[in-house]
């Protein structure tokens, strides 16, 4: 078991290199880059005097300056060399500087990461808290009106994209009823609030985005729970349990439930990475400064150090999440003992 997990941990290294190398090469191969973007900006800044049709022909930068820039970003070297230069820096926890703002990428990301983690973790916990009981209840009431009605609601929320739900929520609950703020992570007076009011303020701001975040994953998790429990309810061992003298309820809580949680445990790791990387559309709508929005803007602006920085974080989360999944499954299901020979 331990051997298996050490092996898994070691395997993350080549996987990580694979993921980052691929994206690194891509950023080099696609047309347009930070330098081109700077040139374009410089051109715009130097007025419309030099006509646009000239393109990059009449550059406001000299060849020398350009070479300097290229050397600065490592564009003068072969891809592989500069990749390993980048990787070496990453190992030293240096993600470079944003080409847009000149700020350290590490700072830019860590500034936003807590916000994303807050939303990610809260969404995940709330989703589990809602879906597990709902799934259980639906399984027990299979075929009853409650089951059908909740299925309809869950499927509607699944079919409508999260950002649309977000917009609808803003339009109605924030703009119309003014129950919730229009956006942002915290209010303007946040700094002056007491600790308790701060928490209230965060939750007040978080309610609508959380609804938007949860809407999508609700259906998958609820139905996973329901189907899994229904399958286990008809399993032979539940019949054995009732034949021992347990009531139906006890047979569920003591026997069927743990077995039916196994598929959800498998899902756990994937959820971590997906949720932490956020959804830039929801962040955009609610004006939340999270990782999703940062990544999106960095891509549009060809801010490759930031893109790579976010990739590093999300790749690591994904890899760790997968290992956590395995751990969860092994914990929940004694039949699974990874890497043990019997």
């Amino acid at each position: 078991m331990q051997g298996y997990f050490t092996q898994r941990l070691l395997l993350t290294i080549p996987t990580f290199i694979g993921i980052t190398l691929l994206v690194f090469v891509l950023t080099r191969l696609v047309p347009g880059g930070p330098i081109e973007r700077m040139l374009a900006e410089a051109q715009l800044a130097s007025g419309t005097a030099s006509s646009v049709s000239d393109g990059f022909g009449s550059q406001s930068l000299s060849e020398d300056q350009l070479d300097q820039l290229k050397a600065y970003y490592g564009f003068d070297q072969p891809i592989i060399t500069s990749y390993f230069q980048w990787l070496w820096k990453v190992v030293q926890l240096d993600l470079g500087e944003s080409t847009r703002y000149g700020e350290s990428v590490w700072d830019t990301i860590t500034e936003r990461l807590p916000i994303s983690i807050f939303y990610g973790v809260t969404t995940m916990i709330l989703t589990y808290l809602l879906c597990i009981p709902l799934g259980i209840f639906k399984a027990l009431k299979h075929g009853a009106p409650f089951d059908h009605i909740s299925s309809a609601i869950v499927f509607i929320s699944y079919a409508i994209p999260g950002y649309v739900i977000g917009i609808a929520c803003i339009a109605y609950f924030a703009a119309n009823l003014e129950w919730f703020p229009l956006g942002g992570f915290v209010g303007d007076e946040f700094e002056y609030l007491s600790t308790w009011d701060k928490i209230i303020d965060i939750l007040h701001h978080a309610t609508l985005p959380l609804i938007a975040y949860m809407a999508g994953s609700l259906a998958v998790m609820t139905f996973m729970m329901k189907n899994s429990l229904m399958e286990n309810l008809s399993a032979d061992y539940v019949r054995t349990a009732t034949a021992k003298g347990l009531s139906f309820k006890q047979a569920i809580t003591r026997h069927a439930l743990r077995n039916s949680l196994i598929p959800l445990a498998t899902h756990f790791g994937q959820n971590i990475s997906v949720i932490l990387s956020g959804s830039f559309l929801i962040e955009k709508i609610f004006n939340i400064d999270g990782i999703g929005l940062l990544g999106y803007e960095a891509l549009v602006e060809r801010d490759y150090p930031v893109v790579m920085g976010i990739l590093v974080i999300s790749a690591l989360l994904y890899l760790i999440g997968n290992i956590l999944s395995d751990l969860c499954v092994a914990w929940a299901d004694p039949r699974i003992r990874f890497g043990e020979k019997r």
Binding site: Y237, G245, L246, R335
Partner: protein, 329 residues
């Protein structure tokens, strides 16, 4: 014969399906006696498992329900018992073993905890330690070596035969008055089968419990049972002592069953005998005798046969209008 421990009379079970109501058991009656084994035989789908589940009142509601009849156990009609009373009886006075030991145990709980659970339910006067000791003792009793070590193992670490032994240990923990075994050896190798049957017989001698042994294997019946009830399409069509059944079966279906056993001494010549035709679907069961569409002796008046059994001798009853006219082959 001693007084019956369990008397099933005219048990009728219906299943509600999307195609309509299925009359799965039709006036099933039999008795169980202390220390004796009743074999319940019949081909797949004739209602053997439903009978056993009905006795335990474990039919899945709302699909299956006992429509009529009574199950008298020590003067108490189980059909009238409420859920709580049944829970006190199950696993305690009436226990059950199922067909497939591979799936009948909870895969995520240790063997030990699954046996201890029975004591937790029915022997609450014991201390935690005593319950563990009792469970350990049961494991030893059913012939599991390294019992202490096995207590902490999970079902998947045991072979099929060992799991069935564990099931027996669970069932017999509270020394029940009645053990219902629904094809307990069908899923096992022949050698393991024999071991399990021996074990069950030994434990029965020790406890003096009554056993309802369900099987479709006539060989097992011959080895284990005192009496036999033959079922066909939801009805008991012949009841007899095991000797009578094998030596002088009267019902055409039972005769057919016995004839279809491969004979060791006919040099392997000739095709295996079979009963022509198929079991009618429960949805359109013929009126009267349910076997008449396959019966070579069937006559007009077979349509009016009801569920009552005709008595040949005190212990031998047949559900057939013409059994007297049928000569032994």
């Amino acid at each position: 014969m001693s007084k019956a421990l369990l008397t099933v009379s005219d048990l009728c079970v219906d299943f509600e399906t999307e195609h309509g109501v299925l009359n799965v058991l039709d006036h099933v009656s039999f008795n169980l006696y202390p220390g004796k084994t009743l074999g319940l035989v019949g081909e797949s789908g004739c209602g053997k498992s439903v009978t056993s589940l009905a006795l335990m009142k474990l039919l899945q509601k709302p699909y299956g329900c006992i429509r009529a009849g009574s199950i008298l156990f020590k003067g108490q009609d189980l059909v009238q018992c409420d859920a709580k009373q049944m829970q006190d009886l199950r696993g305690n006075r009436i226990a059950m073993i199922f067909q497939d030991p591979m799936t009948a145990l909870n895969p995520v709980k240790t063997i030990g905890s699954q046996i201890v659970e029975v004591f937790n339910l029915h022997r609450q006067e014991l201390t935690k330690k005593e319950r563990y000791q009792c469970a350990l003792e049961m494991l030893r009793k059913v012939g599991i070596s390294d019992a202490q070590f096995r207590m902490a193992e999970f079902p998947h670490q045991l072979s099929g035969g060992m799991r069935q032994r564990v099931m027996i240990a669970i069932a017999l923990s509270c020394e029940p008055d009645i053990l219902i075994a629904d094809e307990p050896t069908t899923a096992l190798d022949v050698t393991i089968q024999a071991q399990i049957l021996d074990l069950m017989q030994d434990l029965q001698k020790e406890n003096g419990m009554a056993m309802l042994f369900i099987t479709h294997d006539l060989g097992v019946i011959a080895e284990l049972c005192d009496d036999v009830a033959v079922m066909y399409a939801g009805r008991v069509i012949e009841k007899a002592s095991v000797i009578d059944l094998f030596s002088q079966a009267k019902h055409p279906y039972t005769k057919g069953l016995l004839d279809s056993i491969p004979q060791l001494f006919n040099d392997g010549k000739g095709a295996l005998k079979t009963i022509e035709g198929q079991v009618p679907s429960l949805l359109n069961m013929p009126t009267g005798c349910r076997f008449r569409n396959r019966c070579q002796y069937s006559q007009q008046d077979c349509k009016s046969l009801d569920h009552n059994l005709d008595t040949h001798s005190e212990n031998h009853q047949i559900n057939c209008k013409h059994w007297r006219e049928i000569k032994d082959a």
